[in-house]
Symmetry: C2
Subunit: 663 residues, 2 copies
């Protein structure tokens, strides 16, 4: 077992009450509505039953009269929703569209693999977020930016790949409810220019059709300066008629070639990428120009808010990168067309292990918004450390913005509950690659699985999601489940413990973002500083400092602004504090640094000790692969602990109360 099928591996035999009598699939759907999604739904059921029970399901057209699984359309249900229920041994999957049928099939299979019985099954689910997207940072040469799982399976040597792995990828993504995928890196201009030329149209069409068979819309990252890059225009000014016409023609061509295309993701005016600022225009001007061009084809423009000055002078304490997303976009609220979605990172910096929620959530009230998270563990252990991120995402989604009297959490906003928007949702920078197990660390697959599940059903707890993933992946062994659950549920906290303390972030080696370097970004141009000196540490983002804390709505602004009320875990993000400051925990800042770093290592040791007891209970190859990574994590967590503790001991001169080894 090589884990090529991840959580859709049907090779493990299971027992589940109520499955024995199921011998056939009844497709009670008119011929003319039996699209590829219905065919793939039936095929998935057949594949699963063949693997799980070793029997071939028959397929009948028309409604069932005996035991079996019946697929039916029922009008009036929400788009993509399903109703799966058991009645006298017969299973019915109802939906108003074929995508709902497919999701119902996966729900049924999940129930069979994770539960003990189908008796009395009655599940009705509609996806809560309209857009559930994976953003791949794959380059056309086959490399992946911030990829920790091997090479790309979308690109190789500047060609697009469509093969068996593409299909497995689509099945895995669809099984957790992903309905949109960006295949190319938003940070690299070449692909984002060339993919809208004739050169790749046929292959993209083929890929989009594979995706469509699983309810996934293909999206592309787009180069804002494409008309110039392609040598056809001398400007990319969004208010120029020539430029606007160029885009209209180009989009007519692209959508003509790839009718299933969903739209485009754009990073403009950021980290060296071109954008409307070049022409003194706003991001609304830029996004709306593209939105107009794709509107006739039902296309969507997803515009990233990750815009900041990446040439900051470290000496400058007034400029604050954390403010920049807010400052650049808040004035444009309400100015974007309806087929534009702003994609906003969960925090104002960049996917650190701990950040406050981005103040644009709750700031913007008249703009479509998508929450962007990163399951590629760029700053959270790069899929060599285990770091289950769903608990973090749950916290972010639950954050109250106070943008409304009720239904004002981030979840409410990106689900459309707060402002009634339909173009909204959640995106994750993907963590997959060509590694046999897809995600490098076998346990990192829980983040992929969990992201999709969470976007579909945000009411699920991180623990529920983890249990599902464990059972699907490793079976229903109790010891395996409890051990893996313990590890997953403690992993983010452990990582935070031995990482940069109290929300300050950025104590990593520059460029590759792996391993500790306390001053790695301290004297750089990236706007990422801790400002530690002999007496204290932290960035003053109160009104006496950069004023960032006041970008939130009340009471959040007052809480963050006040060092007495600011939550411990974000204290150094918002305030420059003496090492001797007493936290709410009762510890001083310096003692918290020491304690948390020793604790983080102890947590890893405990995780590994428990994991080792699973030897023989997990597939050998998978166990060995994880053990290698755990051995590294144990050592590397010590490196984090010792470097950070030593740095602060040497700088503060304050000894550890407990007299432990600091160098």
């Amino acid at each position: 077992m090589g884990f090529e099928q991840a959580w859709l591996d049907y090779a493990r035999k299971i027992s589940c009450e109520g499955t024995d009598g199921i011998e056939a699939v009844f497709v009670g759907i008119d011929d003319d509505r039996q699209d590829i999604l219905i065919k793939n739904s039936v095929a998935e059921l057949q594949k699963a039953f063949a693997g799980l029970f070793g029997r071939k399901l028959a397929v009948h057209m028309g409604t069932a009269d005996g035991d079996g699984i019946c697929l039916l359309f029922r009008e009036g249900m929400p788009a993509e929703a399903y109703h799966v229920y058991e009645n006298g041994g017969k299973i019915t999957i109802e939906a108003s569209d074929s995508q709902g049928i497919l999701y119902g099939v996966f729900a049924l299979l999940r129930q069979m693999q994770t539960g003990d019985s189908l008796r009395g099954l009655d599940l009705t689910k509609a996806p809560v977020m309209p857009m559930r997207m994976l953003d791949h940072w794959d380059n056309m040469d086959g490399s992946i930016e911030r990829g920790y799982s091997g090479e790309s399976f979308f690109f190789e040597k500047n060609e697009i790949l469509v093969n068996e792995r593409t299909v497995t990828y689509a099945r895995l993504a669809a099984s957790v409810g992903i309905n949109a995928v960006v295949i190319n890196n938003v940070n690299v201009k070449d692909a984002a220019t060339r993919l809208i030329t004739e050169r790749y149209a046929d292959k993209l069409k083929e890929l989009s059709e594979v995706f469509a068979g699983y309810g996934i819309r293909l999206y592309l990252s787009l180069n804002y300066a494409a008309p110039m890059e392609l040598g056809e225009l001398q400007s990319a000014d969004p208010l120029s008629e020539e430029v606007r016409d160029w885009w209209k023609r180009r989009m007519a061509f692209v959508f003509g070639q790839i009718p299933n295309l969903g739209g485009f993701l754009i990073k403009a005016d950021s980290e060296g990428r071109p954008g409307p600022f070049t022409y003194g225009r706003t991001h609304a001007d830029g996004a709306n120009m593209l939105a107009e061009a794709v509107a006739p084809f039902g296309g969507t423009i997803i515009w990233r808010c990750f815009v900041y000055n990446c040439q900051q002078d470290w000496r400058d304490e007034k400029t604050d990168r954390a403010r920049s997303g807010y400052d650049n976009f808040i004035g444009l609220d309400g100015k974007f067309l309806d087929n534009v979605i702003l994609q906003i990172k969960n925090g104002p910096m960049d996917f650190q292990v701990r950040e406050p929620v981005h103040p644009l959530f709750g700031g913007l009230t008249k703009t479509n918004q998508m929450l962007e998270v990163q399951i590629a563990q760029e700053y959270t252990g790069q899929q060599r450390h285990v770091c289950y991120l769903i608990p973090m995402f749950r916290e972010i989604l639950a954050f109250r913005t106070y943008a409304a009297k009720e239904h004002d959490t981030v979840e409410d906003i990106v689900c459309g509950r707060t402002f009634g928007q339909k173009n909204c949702g959640m995106a994750a920078v993907a963590n997959t690659g060509n590694d046999e197990n897809w995600t490098g660390h076998d346990m990192a697959a829980a983040n992929w699985y969990g992201f999709g599940r969470l976007a579909f059903e945000p009411e699920l707890s991180a623990e529920e999601i983890a249990r599902e993933w464990i059972r699907l992946t490793f079976g229903k062994d109790k010891q395996v489940e409890e051990t893996m659950l313990y590890i997953l549920m403690n992993s983010w906290k452990a990582y935070e413990n031995y990482n940069a303390p109290l929300g300050i972030g950025w104590m990593v080696n520059p460029d590759y973002h792996y391993g500790p370097s306390v001053d790695g970004y301290e004297y750089s141009r990236w706007g990422t500083y801790h400002r530690a000196d002999h007496l204290g540490i932290g960035v003053d983002r109160s009104s006496a400092g950069t004023g960032y804390a006041l970008l939130y709505r009340e009471p959040n602004a007052s809480v963050y602004h006040d060092r007495e009320r600011c939550p411990d875990e974000l204290l150094l993000f918002f305030h420059h504090m003496p090492y001797t400051w007493k936290l709410k925990s009762g510890k001083t800042v310096i003692q918290h640094i020491y304690d948390s770093h020793f604790e983080g290592v102890e947590m890893v040791d405990e995780m590994v000790e428990r994991f080792e007891k699973l030897e023989g209970k997990l597939p050998e190859k998978s166990y060995q692969r994880m053990m290698e990574r755990f051995a590294h994590q144990k050592e590397h967590a010590r490196e984090w602990r010792d470097q950070i503790n030593t740095y602060f001991y040497r700088k503060s001169g304050i000894p550890d109360e407990k007299g432990r080894n600091i160098y």
Copy 2:
């Protein structure tokens, strides 16, 4: 004028008394001794006179009877020595070998270009160091490790280049007395394996013949594990008969193909390179095996002493990289064959802006030694900052080792005066590349020029050498000369001022070694630490620490060991000192850090201010090229100043006495 000819550019017209009457070269050397060196000597004279005076020198065989330049052999002179004198308008160049004639020709031309008259000229010079070598770190793909002047001119796409630039390179090298060149990177195994195969034999022979025409022996870096790399043996054990036989056969083949080959340079058991340690053998075993194999062909083995543990734990304060060269080699003194030379870096670490002299100099008394310096400015500004290194080399050469009652300086040792050795000398890691001006920064050519001149005539002062180079390169304009001289002579001190303080070194960005990063190497595996904490900084290398100071002979050991006597500029190399310690200068350590960093920037500002006044007096292209680099150096020196001052201010909490801006 593109500076392709560097200091051998004869395009500038000159006037020099005593040259008018010279119309011919008289070759008073028997036909059968007129080798390619003599032909090249005559050609150089013709080329120079054509350029400098616009006239073609006739060539006559036999001794002169009229005005002209007469080339004569005279027995009894030392090898490679020359005697150049004027008598009644006639110039005679005498030597006992053709290499001496060539050096005499270049000496005459230098006199013509830098002096005002040939009247009374009477120069007798023998090169003081037997081996005057350039080590190129060129890779076969055309890149250069630590190369700051473009691509390689020896290699391109795995092929060896021999072309017009090769000849110009050989003329430039010979003109300053270089007589040995290693063309390939000692740090990379591929080339060091493949260059001894048939594949490259013809091209290497061709290259060696071009070199031989200018008195230069071709050397190659060799892979110690070549028999294994080539797949012919399973071991490289130096005591294995099979291995020894392999090398004998291989060397017979190589020298058969390339008779002019001088020998090999080897880096073994260092930074991941294989070596005799793998087999529990000593470096003497390894070097002698190769020496035996090349001895029948007059070959020489140059063995680097740059051996240390590059996997050190930063927490470990007992292991000391500075000790490792000494500890690995001192016990082998006297055990190396006579055609082995140990190549020892100037300091015990790695080409930092300030290090003590390597204790193997004076430690070894029965072993051939070569001093290795680096004119590639890896740690001294990478040929973007100006840093004239000859003053540093002069200090190193003048260092008294106390290995003998007299004639015990490093210069004495590597010239053979102390122990009577003949296989000794000086090598420099080269700073050249395919840039039009050879060295990136036009002023970096002074280091190439100066290194050769210094190895040939170590009695020359850094200032004399600088004046020569300036006059040869830019002519005899007084303002140009004084300005360039001021810049060159102050550049090392300025760089040291704004770099890591007081001999501690290593405050650079890891990997590429450019720009400040105070903690860049502090928590790494490289053995390069400053150990700064809130109270002080420095590495204790006294007997209470690593004991390194005691590796020197007395009185050096006592001086270095005693913090009261240790020279200021090396204090932090030898001792961990409080910031409040009073230096001999009267300043505290911390105030010295602040002052020197402000001074360093002021020195650069002054250099640039003076340089700007040369606009119009230098070739435009060269002036612009230098101005671009000076503009960068001005800004980058500030970055050094501010990062280092801020780091220590934040860490120590001690303010600058003068209240200047520290962040």
